[in-house]
Amino acid sequence: MKLLPFDVWVKILRLLPLRDYIAARRVCRTLYTAAMSRTMLLRWARRVLMSYHVHLRSLGLGALQDLTDTQLEWIIAQPFAVERFLTNTDNEVPSSDGEGVWASSPRIYQFPTTADYETHGALPSPNEYQTFELLPGGRWLLGLTQSTLVCFDLGSPLAPWASACAVADVNFYQGTPMQRSRTNSAFPLHWQMDDAVQGEAIATILVEGQCSMEGENVSASFVCVVRFHATDDGTTLILHNHLLFPHDERVIALRGDVVVIRYTSRYVNTWVCMWDWKEDRIGVYVESIASHGPFTPTGLHRVPRDHLLWSFPDRFSFDSSRTSRTITLYNMPNLPHPVQRSAWQPGTFVDRYQVENFPVAVLSSSGDLVAAFLRLPLGPDSTLDDDFAMYLLSKTMDRTVADGCRLHVTLERVLLEGSPASDSSPPYSLPTSTILNTSVLHLGGEQRWSRQLHLPNHVVLMWYAEERLLAIPLSSVNQEQQHRGVQERKLQLRRFYDPLKHVVGPEPEGYARLHRICAFSGRLVSISPSTGRLAVLDPDHTSTTGRRTS
């Protein structure tokens, strides 16, 4: 077969993935010449930098056009180097100079601060705050303006509850890598908190914003880790910065020292990035789901650090493209049957999803995905295993899932019952709280509750449209009686204070103003973004008169 024309090879090389591009240039002199042209190297280096959202500044390099061919080659090689780094048991980075680029990234920026609220004369006014987030534990309150992150310590010995103070603030415009970022309401999406009681808190936050990279405005997101370190000498906010990701990323797992981010492009490539920020290293896994399946060739099972396997707690995920959504069942080592994947159009309904003899129910309702994966107990004659596992991405399910089995999900229990083959078997059930997380709750009929929270003895529902806030004792809820016996109590405000103004404020006029509400210590705390006011609500309090305390 004769060799193709040079310009055709150039076109083909542009269409190859990085691995194939590298392999192709080792084929013959013609391909080597085409692949090693400066135009091609620049194109690939730019693509790698854009794909992994790496600043040249963070690599200690100048403009892309000023780099030598060797440097461009080095940049192109880095995804493989990092992959090798994390998959190789000896953790050697096979780079030319023995150092991995991203092994030393991200960089850490420290912002010394003070616990004295009065010294922060330039703190934003309450009306400037876009959002607040009370971290789990109830001590740390973070507020975000267009450009500044402010941390309030609500419980330190230096700042008692009634006189919370701002302990730190980070301005995104002041010399940080977020210099050109413009944050928005997506902050924060995820939090991880360590040891809030003892005074040191760690929060992982995701900040979205436009940023400038290589002179081009791109839509990207930051991920940074913020650590609040409180001592008797003051409080320090340390911002571990920065990772830059495309706008469609999803943080799929967080832990104290690892952030796992998964990004699915508009096309078929998916990459998973693990940022071990305590050890200052990052691993990037690139995978093409369409051709290889989820993470099979560079699967996480090859990562020597076993504790990273938890990164996919739900063991399945959803990929979105412009035309379809795909449910992907990831590696499930305990499953005896191979799993499959399927796709459906957004908004359509897939009632039963069969994986060989393995019933999987996948429900999609009004764009919100509800999914369940279960193994049915069908008695001694069944060829199926008799154990049971289930994963839900939403709260409510009441459907016939397989073989006449009916699945009920209530606030209290999840029950599976009514299979013809399992009449003699008792219904299988497990506590709802073990599988449910905070999300939208549908509680009977067409009522849609905007928000739901779990307290030790109650489930609190919010419905913004009618400004209703209900506390439902868990003991009154069961599968037959979702509405009857539900004791609706309008929650009473117990005490208020304003962490921004140090004054006692009036009672909010309606619950619609309660932009943020969260639970801790068996109580609810609501935060108004417009006023910065906090209110504590006690579901056990039945009096119609609220009591204000300072």
Partner: protein
């Protein structure tokens, strides 16, 4: 208006103007410089254009593509992230010989969209192959000297584990 295309074997294909417009060589032959003026030099359908380097089977396959894109603009440039329409990928298939024939014909007939699609088809076939596999697939002789291979290994040390994983 329609145009007759004659393949290497002498088979005649009667195509409409929108279909013929997709083929650069035919367009130039049929319209010449006046194409940009909006009217054709030749207007009768008895005109035939001989495409001596294109076989009947390949020409018929190419005309399927031209017919599909007679009212649409195909992709003419892209990289590995480019998402091609499903119809295109089904059209080009994975038969390497067929793709190469289409590619050569598209290059000869000056059909940029089809040329890109054929390149994409080759790129997909090459997916996951090592250098030796590419050589075997395309019948290319590795013409590097041993010295050059050693030099490349030195230059690209970080690729070594990938190219020689064992």
């Amino acid at each position: 208006m329609s145009i007759t295309l004659i393949s290497k074997e002498g088979a005649q294909f009667l195509v409409s103007k929108p279909v013929a417009d997709r083929i650069g060589v035919v367009r130039d032959c049929a319209y010449g410089a006046d194409f940009w003026l909006g009217y054709a030099v030749a207007t009768d359908d008895s005109m035939g254009i001989t495409l001596a380097n294109v076989t009947s089977s390949i020409l018929s396959k190419i005309l399927v593509w031209c017919e599909h894109y007679k009212d649409m603009e195909p992709l003419v440039d892209g990289d590995s992230n480019m998402e091609f329409p499903e119809w295109d990928m089904a059209y080009i298939g994975h038969d390497m010989n067929q793709i190469l024939f289409v590619l050569e014909a598209a290059d000869y007939l000056h059909i940029p969209g089809l040329l890109l699609l054929a390149c994409k088809g080759i790129a997909d076939v090459l997916d996951g192959r090592n250098p030796r596999g590419i050589c075997d697939l395309l019948g290319i002789v590795m013409d590097f000297s041993h010295r050059q291979e050693v030099d490349m290994d030195k230059e690209n040390g970080y690729w070594r584990w990938f190219l020689h994983p064992t």
